[in-house]
Symmetry: C2
Subunit: 184 residues, 2 copies
């Protein structure tokens, strides 16, 4: 009895506030059957905010520096957050940018959508570049303690190479956003 | 009563085969206290295997193409796998490269270590470039169904930009490995 690879059955072993965990019984392409632990996540959007025209010489981007319990300290990131139920990735990107930094963007340019770590979670992050920023008031959650860090994109990319930026989505966003930036 | 930010208490709500989930009560830097769901993961190593001298014109790297249930299909990745208990990241990188592809490497060059998605997991991936490869026999798990895909690094990076490669660790590894490669 052959069939397409995929789920045979699923059992929820943890239902949480942000994530849930299922143990899924899966048929693999060679017919093997096995159990996989899958962390279910609603997905997220993340934004590389350009403070200057990307085509200008050495444009600046806006990073945030925030406390991350998982990393046991402060990390540099690009603005990002989880999708609300039914929310379009573009709307989430605009909302998170505004809530975390106070900035609104005139334009969002899709960069890519990727799997953060597909061995154990279905989380996908939608990456955008934001241009035409205008300042406003941030609306942060009580546990969002963060500083705004305007920085030349070239310097941010140097920090990815040096290991000073070690958050996956931020590394990918900054490295890929360089395609929009002026090259000397 | 002020103190360093960090864990106040922790409750394990799921203990699994690969991952576990804790609900940790955390003090944030501004004194706020809140609960966070944290997926505990042992960490992993991943390798960008250079089939040619990185300094040669247009060097090739070795990708794998494998079925990923989380992505509901086949994805291109670099070889990678979880750390065994007490295993050094370098040893894990060498072992996973050999098990998944059959290749042994003469040299491993550390690229960086990053957090895959620090909002909800402590997983870190140690990235290496591997050079001086010699072929041998792969030793795959029953659910590791994969093809070996030798490809010029320049083409792999084009696939990151086009969205054909959408696995986070592979995107970061390939984009950063280009620093070792010959530039025209």
């Amino acid at each position: 009895m052959s069939s397409e690879p995929g789920r045979i059955s699923s059992k929820r072993v943890y239902g949480g506030k942000v994530i849930s965990v299922d143990i899924d019984t899966v048929q693999f392409p060679n017919g093997t059957i096995g159990d996989l632990e899958m962390v279910r996540h609603p997905g997220a959007s993340a934004v590389v905010p350009f403070l200057d025209l990307p085509s200008s010489p050495n444009p600046r981007v806006l990073l945030i520096r925030q406390y991350r319990y998982a990393a046991d300290g402060y990390v540099y990131e690009i603005p990002a957050g989880r999708l609300d139920a039914g929310e379009a990735p573009q709307d989430c990107a605009m909302r998170e940018l505004r809530e975390e930094t106070g900035y609104s963007a005139r334009d969002l340019i899709p960069i890519t959508t990727f799997y953060t770590t597909p061995g154990f979670t279905d989380e996908r992050i939608h990456l955008f570049a934001a241009t035409g920023l205008s300042a406003g008031e941030a609306e942060r959650e009580p546990d969002e303690i963060l500083d705004l860090v305007p920085i030349p994109l070239s310097k941010a990319i140097a920090m990815v190479h040096s290991g000073e930026i070690l958050d996956g989505k931020s590394m990918i966003g900054l490295l890929l956003a360089s395609q929009f930036a002026h090259r000397e």
